[in-house]
């Protein structure tokens, strides 16, 4: 399998962000939460590389620390939907029958909902915060994984090696875990990479709309919102966190794109 340069770039970007998140305190030049009345709205310069915000905090340090939250949200946020979705999809596709009917009706109901509205409504019920965002994702985000996994399972249940395993008397659970699951993983992993990007984006959108992480957390969406009214006088407050978001998103998207090509999932 040949590694494409784009895939390598993606991996490098994601690794870079992980490193940044890990050693954030070493990289940051200032305390990301320290307000400074004397340094409000400073443009980028030698002292403050990305300038300062409306309460004198160092934008560069906040962007660096923001990587922790973004990765935390992106990586943790996809776990529950993936596990739930894969289980539902594999079981439904493999066994068929009423399990499949029930699962697919549930999927049908979620499809016509605008995804973001559903997440937003659930967060409104539970209250703002990352944990509640995760719960909302778990309730809604599994659908995509379920459809993928079900499609794979429908094909795999008729595959020769699965039929062989069944005639040899292996239990359904064993077959699902040892044969069906591993063979459906590749398409799920590709989807996972897209999903990480989306989960980070939607998390930031919630922060932007005032329903995400509470201030003064260094969260990119919140930072973009904070800088919104300053876009004419202090563009850097919103610009840099947005740029960081693009760079982390591109990283995961490139990995997804590269994997898809290498595993020949599309074309």
């Amino acid at each position: 399998m040949k590694l494409s340069p784009m895939f390598v770039t993606g991996v490098a970007l994601v690794v870079l962000w992980c490193v940044i998140a890990l050693v954030a305190p070493k990289l940051a030049t200032h305390d990301p939460y320290a307000i400074d009345f004397a340094a409000i709205l400073q443009p980028p310069g030698a002292e403050h590389w990305f300038g300062t915000d409306n309460v004198g905090r160092d934008t560069y340090s906040r962007v660096i620390f923001g990587a922790r939250l973004a990765l935390y949200i992106g990586l943790l946020g996809v776990i529950a939907p993936m596990l739930i979705g894969m289980t539902v999809g594999l079981v439904a596709g493999y066994f068929g029958g009423w399990i499949d009917v029930v699962a697919m009706r549930l999927v049908d109901i979620t499809v016509p909902f605008p995804f973001f509205v559903l997440v937003l409504s659930i967060v409104a019920v539970l209250g703002p915060g990352i944990e509640n965002y995760f719960i909302a994702l778990a309730l809604v985000g599994w659908v995509g994984y379920a459809r993928l996994a079900r499609a794979e399972a429908l094909v795999l249940r008729r595959a020769e090696f699965v039929l062989a395993a069944r005639t040899m008397g292996f239990s359904s659970g064993y077959i699902l875990l040892r044969h069906v699951l591993p063979n459906s993983l590749s398409s799920i992993v590709v989807y996972l990479m897209t999903d990480v990007t989306l989960v980070i984006l939607f998390g930031a959108a919630l922060g932007f709309l005032g329903m995400g992480v509470s201030p003064p957390a260094a969260e990119w969406g919140v930072m973009i919102a904070e800088g919104q009214t300053y876009i004419s006088s202090a563009w850097w407050i919103s610009f840099f966190p947005g740029l960081a978001m693009v760079l982390i998103g591109v990283g995961f998207a490139l990995i997804g794109d590269g994997l898809a090509r290498m595993l020949r999932i599309e074309r």
Binding site: V55, G127, S214, P215, P216, T229, I231, S232, S233
Partner: protein
Amino acid sequence: MYNRRIITAAAVLALSGTILMAQETIRIASPYKVTVLDPIVSAGGGNIEAYGLLYSRLMRTDKNGNLVPGLAERYEISEDGLTYTFHLRDAKFSDGTPITADDAAFSLNRAAKDENSAYPAGFAPIAEIAVLDERTLQWTLKHPSAPILANLDIFNAGIVSKDDVEERGEDAFVTNPVSSGPYMVKEWKPNDRLSLTANPNFWREGLPRVENAELIEVSDANARATMLMAGEIEVDRTVPWPQIEEINNTDGVSVKLEPSTVLYLVLPNHTRPPFDNLTVRQAATMALDRAAITKAVTLGHAEVANSTFSNALKFYDPSISMPAYDPAAARKLLEDDDLVGTEITMMITPATEQIATLLKAQWDAVGFKTTVERVDAGLWWSKMANADYDVTSSWYFNETDDPDLAIRWALCGTCGSHSYYTRYNNEEVNELTEEALREGDEEKRAGLYRRIQEITVSEIAQIPLYYTPYANGYSDRVKGLSLTPALQWTLEEAELTDG
């Protein structure tokens, strides 16, 4: 010959001017929604601003801020200050029917006594309203009220058509409401815009000068500023402080800072720890560099608050002062009472994030442990009403320059809103509030209100932060338009020029 040419030219100019005027529209973009056109059911910001355009009142505030007769041509007040007789002028509603004493009595009774009335406080002293004849109206009060005449110019005292409201019910305020004010509804698109056109029967002759007006809802401040600078709107209601400079640097538009009674403040919950403790409130006040906070948030456009009264209210006392910024002393207060590490949960809405960040930083610096809890406006009000919070930050304004309603809203514990839902409840303040309302002598009233300020400042009923003006952006083409401290547009007297 020469003279006649000038006269003709002037006539042509005047004529073309009128024609131009007739087609002109003043477009006002505002983040505040117009949600309901019935003047008694809402005290929400966007609605208040629209009510004044649709409904005239018995009294009116002129452009110099003086109270002058409105739909009431003249009035008499009895010796004991309990009976008010109003003589209405000859005026018509937009549908051509006459505005009678019946209509006025009906409208004021709704504001004062209807169970739907959102804000009856100003008319509470009214015992009865009698209609003497078609054009004469008489009130009797339960007790004297110094500001009641001025209260007649509050947003919910607008005169509506009795016949129409009785016939159509709620629908009277949804489709083609009958108007008594300078404008009437041309089209209402909820959640988008309210299009108005001049009321041909408006009682002030020759007004309004500008034929059409639009109240457009644009929640994003950047969008509003850009629209103003690009000439897509004539007025930007609420320019955020950081955008003032850019607008003022643009040709043809500028920001006016207009006087207001707005007070930004920190609201502690007096019913539960930690803010039920005066020492905590003192330490929390001394921890705050309120001058620096004011400068950081408003970029120098506001004044630091010294009193629990707005500086635009009558009887405001400039000599009073809150405990000064002294973090070391604040820390000491906490240490002495073993309160270091006291946990605070600060409830905020997205609109107060910057203030919250500053408060948290300064409180934590003296030994508090502050957690910020973000809620949306809907939840904020529920939690306030149920006293389910530790501390929060907000603002309020007063409809008139008389302090009575402001105190009833924010400092009186028995006046309905429990001191802006802080549950601050000082019996002396409550009694002083009632006494001052009934006091006819200005000097004595001043004394009573000074006492209220002294008590509420020393007990730190609230932590006042700063007094802000309204910052509105106007196209230079608009003349004579401003937003009064009572949140009313002077649109009926405004003009649009060519350049």
